[in-house]
């Protein structure tokens, strides 16, 4: 194959791969983002935008501490680079309109040539609904506990009264 033809084929292959990556990255309903070891955001996907309201122009090139607690996220990045991965770590992300969204983070270290880390991939689950349900469940449980106490209390009172009546009947007899 002539060199020009080879180059043309390679460029076509790269474009196919690029489109495949782009589509996969855009398709996933899970928010994804990538930061370099300095904590600068280098990439986000549409699911990230959907949940947080930030688009590429808002966050790419910005420090990750713009929407996470600085100390906490720095710790997560360092731990991921040390252990290679982190699963299910609860945290809070601040959306563009200032809402604090509870999330569960998954992070993976990205290495170049199996040596130096050149950043961390992040993904997360939005725990807003889970936390809301958790709160509702807790409130329900508290209500039930109150009810239980009330019912048990009433029952004990009944037993006490029955005892009193029994004693009174005995005395009269």
């Amino acid at each position: 194959m002539a060199d020009d033809k080879k180059i043309k084929t390679l460029i076509e292959d790269i474009n196919l791969l690029e489109n495949y990556n782009k589509e996969l990255f855009s398709f996933t309903p899970l928010p994804l983002f990538f930061v370099n070891p300095m904590g600068t955001v280098l990439e986000i996907n549409p699911a990230f935008t959907k949940i947080t309201g930030y688009d590429t122009y808002d966050v790419v090139g910005e420090p990750i501490s713009s929407f996470f607690d600085e100390k906490e996220i720095k710790g997560i990045i360092e731990e991921t680079m040390e252990k290679d991965s982190i699963d299910n770590r609860e945290s809070v992300i601040v959306s563009k309109d200032g809402e604090k969204i509870p999330i569960s983070i998954f992070a993976r270290n990205r290495k170049m040539l199996e040596e130096e880390s050149n950043g961390v991939f992040f993904s997360f689950f939005d725990l807003k609904e889970v936390k809301k349900k958790e709160k509702e469940l807790k409130e329900k449980l508290e209500e039930m506990e109150k009810f239980r106490k009330l019912v048990v209390g009433r029952e004990l009172k009944m037993v006490e009264l029955k005892e009193k009546i029994k004693k009174l009947k005995k005395r009269q007899a």
């Binding site: 474009n15 280098l42 090139g61």
Partner: protein, 199 residues
Amino acid sequence: MDTKKEAERMMSFKGEVRGMTLKTDERFVLKRFGKEGVEKVEKRMEDLGYTLKYKDVSSMDYYPLGMRMLSLVAIKEALGLSDERIREMGRAAPRASLLIRFFMKYFLSPQKTFERANEIWEKHYTVGSVDVAEVAEDRVVLQISGMESHPVFCNYLIGYLSSLGRIIVQKEVELEETKCVFKGDNLHEFVCKWQMTRK
């Protein structure tokens, strides 16, 4: 730009440019002006005698350098953008560009990144070069030479380099073009300065 002659002159510029730069132009226009904006720009290109369909551009392929200049000029003219809006377009570009992803491994320290400025340039352009004339703790001086361009490209570069500088040093930067081939100099020189204390 009044005549097709000027477009022809640009199309005769030596060298090629990666499609990703044209894709970045398209992304900015789409975001700010929608599909209608892209159509207006493509129509202006056609009026000037050249066909460019942004959606058909492949990021990795090479296109004539003149096409890149023509794209910027057509955007400026078709959408009536001021020089400041062109700088805004340049500022937005690094955040949407594939460049960021390709060169993320170099974004480990400002020094390392600036040292590789010409490598980044060469990934985009087959002509011209970037020389780091000076790099200090609070400033860097970049010189671009060896390529033909258009004045609109200077404004675009002012925005682009200031945004890239901000990303690299993670601080607000001031960027000024101190030498320009359209003002009689033999190269373009950009001075990028930032405060030592984090804002």
